[in-house]
Amino acid sequence: MGKIKLRNFHQARWDEPIIFELSTPGQRGILLPEIDDEIVDRVGDAEEIIPKKVKRNKKPQLPELSQPQVLRHFLRLSQETLGQDINIDIGLGTCTMKYSPKIHEQFVRNPKFSELHPLQDEETTQGILEIMYKTAELLKEISGMDAFVFQAGGGAQAVFSNASILKAYHTDRGEGDKRTEIITTAFSHPVNAAAPHTKGFKVITLMPDEETGYPSIEALKSVVSDRTAGLFITNPEDTGIFNVHIKEMVDIVHEAGGLCIGDIADANGLFGIVRAKEMGYDMCHYNLHKAFSSPHGSMGPCCGAQGVKKFLEKYLPVPVVAFDGEKYYLDYDRPHSIGKVRMFYGVVAAVLRAYSWIVSLGADGLKEVSELSILNNNYLMKRLLTEVRGISAPYSKERFRMEQVRYSWEKLKEETGVGTEDVERRCMDYGLQEFYQSHPPYLVPEPFTPEPNETFSKDEIDEYAEIMKKVSQEAYENPELVKTAPHNGPISLIPQPPITDPEDLIVTWRVYKKKKGID
């Protein structure tokens, strides 16, 4: 492709009413079969079967619509949503918005999968158990860990499950009451602090060295003690910087009697390059909806694949898929298990997609994924830092980054008054999804974290860079244009201070109506 022509994008704008406003009494969206006459003859009218004490007094005030109107309403809402499939979704970094192959959707919608009940006799689920077992085997090779389960319904739940194992491990060794602290880093995902805290651990957060962007060894040494239960760490961190001291940090924690839990939610820069095992992790997790291509589904469903070393395998949530040489089965006989973190076996659809993705790529393909992610990222970084006014990328400036970069629009803000939120909204007028600013804490001012994974073309990356260049130029020349964006969005800009008082919360139509005095 030659010169990039920026789009004059306009998002669908339907002014679509809330579904309750579309209700017409008496309309029906779908009918059920009549109850068989012979059943009615035998058991009588259903009204008489319902116990009087708990019979619903007043029907739920759901809207009443015909089928085409329901379809049209939700199709319009879908058009007012920028899914990865229709935009250059480089912006949502830390999320690995990669292409989810359409053939996988055929697999998960195949009735041989979609109509399986989780409690069917194993004789009738050998296919799906084989997929689960083999996916665990593949992840064992990719990570170097010894066992995997897929029960967690997302990465955060997998971190919680790892925190549960950590607690069980120390409790079994008689140190449960003593080892009450975990250590994490400020650029590790927030759940590395929040999930262990939910499990009852006290959290110590290491701040980054101003030069490198990751904590110094001395900082770690100063907080490690016999109270240390473990280290929860994301590497590469949110900055896209690979912490080259990771093994040394892990060794320090191990020497102090703690375990190390790696958050590999975003594995996109690591396939075939660095494994969890060599970093010394005792436990880790992958988000199958990120690097392993399962679609994000408007925030799930998804899967946190949880991997552990042999000595922790006995604690994994039940059941574990096993193979006796002839058949696959669900092993519940695990007395040391932490129990359950989710019902049944997790979001197996994500496992099916991850399996399909891995076997379609193989070892060379996986390495290509990571190398191209890193190449794309550094190519974009070079363009942004050399061509876009007002942007910078703090820390480790002499090195290439891994799969993403946390940039700063601080200079732009100082010089034009246009901040990262304004730029983010303006990007939409060029057809882009918003970008991810930062997880807390906001150590990088006016942050911006794009992730140009392997499924974006050079042309798309160039278009993305050109858009940033253009928006920056607009900020310098006509800041109001950027501050009042989006101009072509599904709704007008509505300056709105964030809601911080529960009295202001309106999460149901009935509350809106009450506040407005509408019946």
Partner: protein
């Protein structure tokens, strides 16, 4: 295949060598390794991952994966009476149509402007659920029903500052196991039940409750299928002691059964898989939590809230609100951790409830409760088969007891399987006191002939 032939991967546009070279030139590097050569040697992978030879073409991949899936036998092929937390309900075609849309399927965490439609659909989910459970506050769906129950109970700990829980002895063991892990600092006591009805034993509840109990939790309908009729009394007993009342309610029952809020529930929770999701071997599960509209409840939800706002033009917008509660807002200072959950299922449930409307949910409830009664009557007339808790009314599930036959549930289920039927879930290990019993399930998809066929096969097997 020529080993040296460079592969161009269809999902990776820049795998074309000339493009790669152009980009490497821009960075001034000669080979890809230079990009990460600063990573210490001892951490770097030596050699190649040992993975199977790739199935590069879509044709080979499709053949391979469908070949494995073909080893499964689904509930479309065999007649299923399995429930126990995952249900075969009818999925309207419009639900699949909407959740297949690329825009929803591949969106993620975009906000007010870029994902206005998604935000509105989520607001409609919480609004529709609010009507179904008759409560003002509903959060974006969580992982599944057991997480919803676990979080609801931790909320009661934060609200009351107490750490004892009373739960029914009849409850779903998977959910109980989840709660035991998630609420491991809380003391869980199980309340007995009336052996004739399964209903919570109110005397035992009165004996066990005290002023340091955070919550009394019930399921309605129960995991074991009966409708709990004493919700009001249970709620009153809880409230007399300053405890909160949490009800785990099956949404598919709420067209005919009273919303728990109207018999005293402070928090209602459960699983929405029944509202338009395929089972997918358990993939379709998704949890909901609803509460009273009081700040102490609202501020203790760990989940996302999509709040509606309006401008002077009358346009509605939606924003993620009260983020300070969540770990996306304040890391470990959050009330609990939060992560990506089940947004697509929330949107699907919104579609389902919009299609069904009040009459649809009423018809659904009537359909299921009638079939459950029919099944109970027909199956209990088989020699040696007893229905437990026969003095109660069953909604979707019921217990068949085979103590008076000479066969175990396992044996019976194996024989049913040979006849193309998935029998009920074996309860003999989870609920020893119920003897040789199984939990059977019927839904609107179960036909009269299906129940009659089961009765005939069971009669043959047991004769």
């Amino acid at each position: 295949m020529d080993e040296n032939k460079k592969i161009v991967y269809p999902y990776m546009p820049n795998s074309v060598e000339s493009i790669k070279k152009e980009m490497m030139d821009a960075l001034g590097i000669k080979n890809m390794e230079e990009l990460y050569s600063y990573i210490p040697e001892e951490l770097r992978m030596k050699g190649k991952l040992n993975l199977p030879k790739p199935l590069l073409s879509e044709i080979e991949l499709k053949e391979h994966v469908e070949g494995i899936l073909s080893k499964n036998i689904s509930c479309n092929e065999y007649l299923s009476f399995l429930g126990a937390g995952c249900y075969r309900h009818y999925v309207p075609a419009v639900c699949d149509e909407i959740n297949s849309r690329s825009e929803f399927l591949t969106a993620y965490c975009g906000g007010t402007y870029t994902d206005h439609g998604k935000c509105q659909a989520i607001f409609e989910f919480t609004s529709l659920m609010g009507e179904l459970v008759d409560m003002d506050v509903v959060a974006l769906a969580t992982y599944d029903g057991s997480q919803a129950a676990s979080t609801s109970l931790r909320m009661t700990n934060r609200i009351t500052n107490r750490n004892k829980l009373l739960v029914p002895k009849t409850m779903n063991p998977e959910i109980l196991a989840h709660i035991r892990n998630y609420c491991d600092f809380m003391t869980i006591t199980q309340v007995d039940y009336d052996p004739k009805t399964g209903q919570m034993d109110l005397e035992d509840l009165r004996r066990k409750i005290s002023d340091d109990v955070a919550a009394v939790f019930i399921e309605n309908p129960s995991y074991l299928g009966f409708i709990e009729e004493n919700g009001r009394e249970i709620g009153e007993i809880a409230h007399e002691h300053g405890a909160l009342f949490v009800v785990y309610a099956d949404p598919s029952s709420l067209g005919i059964l009273e919303a728990p809020a109207n018999y005293g529930a402070d928090i209602t929770c459960g699983d929405i898989q029944c509202l338009g999701m395929h089972m997918g071997y358990g993939s379709g599960l998704s949890g909901y939590i609803a509460s009273k509209n009081e700040p102490q409840f609202i501020m203790n939800f760990p989940n996302h809230f999509y709040s509606l706002y309006e401008n002077e033009k009358g346009e509605f917008g939606f924003s993620r609100s009260l983020n300070q509660r969540t770990s996306y807002g304040s890391r470990e200072k959050a009330v609990e951790y939060l992560g990506t959950n089940t947004g697509l299922w929330a949107i699907t449930a919104a579609v389902y409830l919009s299609l069904m409307g009040p009459q649809g949910m009423y018809d659904l409830g009537k359909n299921i409760i009638s079939k459950a009664k029919y099944a109970v009557e027909v199956l209990s007339s088989i020699k040696g088969v007893k229905v437990l808790f026969e003095d109660s009314t069953n909604f979707k599930e019921f217990i068949l007891n085979f103590d008076e036959t000479n066969k175990s549930v396992e044996e019976i289920n194996k024989e049913l399987l040979r006849k193309g039927i998935f029998g009920g879930k074996d309860l003999s290990r989870e609920f020893k006191e119920l003897g040789n019993s199984a939990l059977y399930c019927v839904t609107e998809l179960t036909k009269k002939e299906d129940i009659d066929r089961l009765a005939k096969e069971l009669s043959d097997i047991l004769s």
